[in-house]
């Protein structure tokens, strides 16, 4: 399951009380536990409440004027419906692209299967803006695919106008989210004991009926919860809509961004409209999150005595290869390679390529360019500074989010049902809130003394921390849950103090998970673009923001080189996560 899903056993017989009630606890334990809550309240809940309040007031008193304005205005109605429509289409496309891979992973054996399975976490660590860039390079009018097809078919016009179209947005979202479908469905399918299907067959059901009556109903919760998650992600998506849509399409997020950041607005009217839009968007995404959580609950069925599903070799001789179903599978594999690997290869190729009047040549000049401190008017800053900023913001956000996330995860892992639901919901709110709205809220809350953070690196780091914090908690909870609390009790009965038990028993046991969680957090911060773009000033650009600015001016080469840097970092993060094992991080 995705990192949003709680895996691991429900609180079992050995689940201890929230924290040791016998003996002395760690000194100051209570205070330490308050820190993450305080952080969330100051930097998320209070600013968000303030922002939503702005959308609900006029001249200092309560008013639904702005909400009414949006809901009755043709243009805003269109924006809201388009947001839902593109999310719906993207979800369908993600299912279409992700389902066959889930089927292949569940039923077939092939070389590198483990790697392919692990690669499905890549979208989580791959910055969305690099996907947008890869799509532009591969599917754009002058992209590799169109150029190739024009050359091949002798056309004068690009045959596939995918870039700057709804189809492009949907396809890019599918690239990004299909792996989520693959993960959730594969997990559900693999956990489905084949004996259910065998029982049905022995009772006389044909393959078709077995699938319809048994397999499908039993993997459906997994599929639906994955689909709900994808829908939420696509609903809140910003970089892809902005870049792949090329400004021709506006979703709620894009609308808030353009109103708040790019329009001169002496009366703050756009702030009011933006706040009201944020309120409407948040209401919708919270509703969808609720549905997602409900589906998650129905999904928590586990078969204890699972018999592993038998798998067949994917390639079993030429005759088998030519069977219609197999051919279909191979066709899918080819198509998904184009969609999944193509954009990344396009970026790498482009970063080493320079167009010249006589054609073009291989070059390293883009790398030289981004790694030297020269002023770039597009950024109001040097590309080099963007790289340095990305690293320092990433380190800063990780340093805040991981310790706070660890504390909160520790508390949640030890809570019983009622308290747990409360904390889960508290955490889901930042997840269901778009990065744009998080940044918008910070922008409005901290733009005046005594806490004037807007325009400083601190604001960006805090925004990143708020955004990655829930992911860190979600990743760490299962690890801490699996930590047998009796080990601590044993250590203490042997004479270790609470601190010593923490240091010598608990920390070493969760160390791998912590490292994996930190790398994950760093990669998320590095790829974050939306909030950064809202808060960025010259001097505060990060790599994704720089890539976006280059891309919006159709300047390639430099952003490709920068994206390669990000892809390398993502790949390293992936390799470490893979090395530590998926067990270390329950993604």
């Amino acid at each position: 399951m995705g990192f949003l899903g709680r895996k691991g056993p429900p609180l079992a017989y050995n689940s201890p009380l929230p924290w040791p009630t016998h003996g002395r606890g760690v000194q100051g334990e209570g205070l330490v536990l308050l820190l993450p809550l305080l952080f969330l309240i100051v930097f998320f809940y209070a600013p968000l409440a303030n922002l939503l309040g702005e959308g609900l007031t006029q001249d200092g008193s309560f008013s639904l004027e702005f909400i009414r304005k949006i809901l009755t205005d043709d243009y805003f109605q269109y924006v809201i419906l388009f947001t839902l429509w593109q999310a719906f289409l993207s979800t369908l496309a993600s299912i279409a692209l992700g389902l066959p891979l889930a089927y292949i992973l569940t039923h077939y054996e092939f070389p590198l299967k483990r790697v392919v399975r692990s690669l499905t976490i890549v979208p989580f660590v791959l910055p969305a803006i690099t996907v947008a860039l890869g799509f532009a390079l591969l599917f754009g009018r002058n992209g590799y695919l169109n150029q190739f097809l024009m050359h091949l078919l002798g056309l004068s016009e690009p045959p596939l106008p995918i870039m700057y179209s709804l189809a492009g947005i949907v396809l890019a979202h599918a690239f990004y989210n299909a792996p989520i479908i693959t993960r959730t469905v594969h997990a559900a399918w693999e956990r489905l004991d084949p004996r259910y299907e065998e029982s049905a067959r022995a009772l006389g059901a044909s393959r078709f009926y077995v699938f319809k009556d048994v397999t499908l109903p039993m993997i459906l919760p997994g599929l639906l919860s994955g689909a709900a998650l994808v829908f939420i992600f696509c609903f809140l998506s910003f970089p892809i809509v902005l870049s792949v849509g090329g400004g021709r399409f506006s979703t709620i997020e894009v609308e808030i961004y353009t109103r708040v950041v790019t329009r001169l607005d002496p009366q703050f009217l756009n702030y009011k409209i933006g706040a009201a839009l944020a309120l409407i968007g948040l209401t919708l995404s919270l509703g969808m999150t609720y549905i997602y959580l409900r589906l998650q609950g129905s999904f928590a069925r586990q078969t204890e005595h699972l018999r592993p599903r038998p798998t067949l070799p994917l390639f079993a001789g030429i005759k088998d290869f030519l069977r219609p179903t197999k051919l279909l599978l191979w066709f899918y594999v080819l198509g998904s390679v184009l969609v999944f690997i193509g954009p990344i290869l396009a970026i790498i190729a482009d970063s080493f390529w320079e167009d010249t009047p006589t054609g073009g040549r291989w070059t390293l000049r883009w790398y030289a360019y981004i790694f030297t401190p020269n002023y770039e008017a597009l950024l109001g800053d040097s590309p080099m500074q963007a790289i340095l900023n990305s690293v320092s913001f990433g380190l800063g956000a990780t340093a805040i989010a991981v310790p706070l996330g660890l504390i909160l995860a520790y508390v949640i892992a030890r809570l019983r049902w009622a308290g747990r639901r409360l904390f889960d919901t508290l955490l889901m709110a930042p997840l269901a809130t778009s990065s744009i709205v998080v940044a918008f809220a910070l922008l409005r809350a901290f733009n005046a003394p005594p806490m004037r953070l807007v325009g400083t690196a601190t604001a960006v780091i805090i925004a990143h921390s708020v955004i990655i914090f829930p992911f860190v908690v979600r990743a760490l909870v299962p690890i801490l849950e699996n930590l047998d609390q009796r080990l601590v009790e044993m250590a203490r009965s042997l004479g270790a103090s609470r601190w010593r038990a923490l240091r010598e028993i608990e920390l070493p046991l969760v160390a791998t998970g912590l490292i994996a969680g930190s790398i994950f957090a760093f990669a998320l911060s590095l790829g974050e673009m939306s909030a950064t773009l809202m808060l960025a000033r010259p001097g505060l650009n990060t790599m994704p923001v720089a890539v976006y600015r280059f891309l919006s001016q159709h300047s390639l080469g430099a952003p490709s080189a920068m994206s390669v840097v990000m892809i390398v970092v993502s790949a390293l993060a992936f390799l470490v996560l893979e090395r530590l094992g998926e067990k270390a991080l329950k993604l």
Binding site: D193, Y196, E198, S199, A200, R201, A202, L203, R301
Partner: protein, 358 residues
């Protein structure tokens, strides 16, 4: 329905799961396949059900090969150890599921009620499987398997997930239902006691082949191999040497003593043999053809009997004793008749001496 397995061989990759297995099950008979885990008994069941195909050999239902018949048209009822009740369907829907695919003049409702009555679960139609106890789930699984009038019933460790008391009760019920319906049944279990209790005949399996097929009495009293002697029932297996042979009377040296035994097969003086003596055949302090004195080194209390571990003249034997006032350290005299010392062709290695159960 008669089932015949002819020279079945099945491999999974490099592992040999079944080697040249032949077995006939007559109409209405209950044959138990018993053996340690990994011996191939479940694979054999899956071959009959049609989920696996043999690499070699044939499977016949009433003389007709069913190798080309898919599982859904073999007409077998199947019950798994962990029930595999469809968790998204009610009890009623589970039992009715197989009726979707059969044409019958009887109404679905009537058939479901008939079966739930048969297994004693009337009134639970609307429950979900998760709301049932393990024993109830097992009964539903049985009802579901029997609903479409299968000609063959296949039970794969049907009771292994239940506790001991329930297991004993349910195995009696299964046998009763099987008798009433006269349905040909293969019953896979690793529990030899269960096999002895329910089966008309038992096929004892070990390492991909059948060691012996026979009635419960035969496999218990006349084990064909050392493995069967060891696996079925509780027994003392002693390795000794033939000293003398006159007709079917054999003199053996076991430990430090000489014993008389009866034997039909050819045995030469000097040959190693394995001798089996069941604990209940050894009498305490009574005259017999074979006697030896020893000391009690361990006692297990079992209500109406005691299990004694007696060390005597270089060997240790288990004895079932109706006499209850015995203590560890007591000296006893053991006796048994020559006809109760059963000789099986020996495996190579001398067996370990029995010790108190863990």
């Amino acid at each position: 329905m008669r089932i015949a397995l002819r020279n079945i061989t099945k491999r999974f990759g490099a592992t040999l799961a079944l080697e040249n297995i032949s077995l006939e099950v007559s109409d209405g008979e209950l044959v138990a396949l018993v053996g340690p885990s990994g011996c191939g008994k479940t694979t054999l069941l899956r071959l009959v059900a049609g989920f696996e195909a043999p690499d070699f050999g044939d499977i016949l239902f009433d003389g007709r090969s069913v190798l080309k018949v898919p599982p859904e048209r073999r007409g077998v009822g199947l019950v798994f150890q962990h029930y595999a009740l469809f968790p998204h369907m009610t009890v009623f829907e589970n039992v009715a599921y197989g009726l979707k695919f059969t044409r019958s003049s009887v109404k679905v409702e009537d058939r479901v009620h008939e079966l739930l009555e048969l297994v004693g679960l009337t009134g639970l139609e609307r429950r979900m499987p998760s709301e049932l106890s393990a024993g109830q789930q097992q009964r539903v699984a049985l009802a579901r398997a029997l609903a479409p009038h299968p000609k063959v019933l296949l039970l794969d460790e049907p009771l292994s997930a239940l506790d001991a008391k329930l297991r004993e009760r349910l195995r009696l019920e299964i046998k009763k239902i099987q008798r009433a319906l006269k349905i040909t049944t293969l019953y896979v279990t690793h529990d030899q006691e269960e096999a002895l209790a329910v089966a008309d005949r038992i096929a004892v399996m070990s390492a991909a082949h059948i060691e012996q097929i026979g009635t419960p009495f035969e496999v218990y009293s006349l084990p064909a191999t050392e493995f069967v002697a060891r696996f079925i029932g509780r027994g003392n297996l002693l390795t000794g040497r033939v000293v003398r042979r006159e007709g079917n009377k054999v003199t053996l040296s076991l430990g430090e003593s000489m014993f008389q035994a009866h034997c039909g097969t050819q045995l030469e003086p000097g040959q190693w043999v394995t001798a089996l003596i069941r604990p209940e055949k050894i009498r305490l302090n009574q005259p017999a053809e074979n006697t030896l004195r020893g000391k009690i080194i361990g006692i297990e209390f079992a209500g109406d009997t005691l299990w004694l571990y007696v060390h005597a003249a270089g060997i240790t034997v288990v004895v079932k004793s109706g006499v209850l006032d015995l203590r560890e350290g007591d000296q006893v005299q053991l006796g048994f008749s020559a006809s109760d010392l059963f000789l099986v062709p020996s495996g190579r290695t001398p067996p370990p001496t029995p010790s108190p159960r863990e």
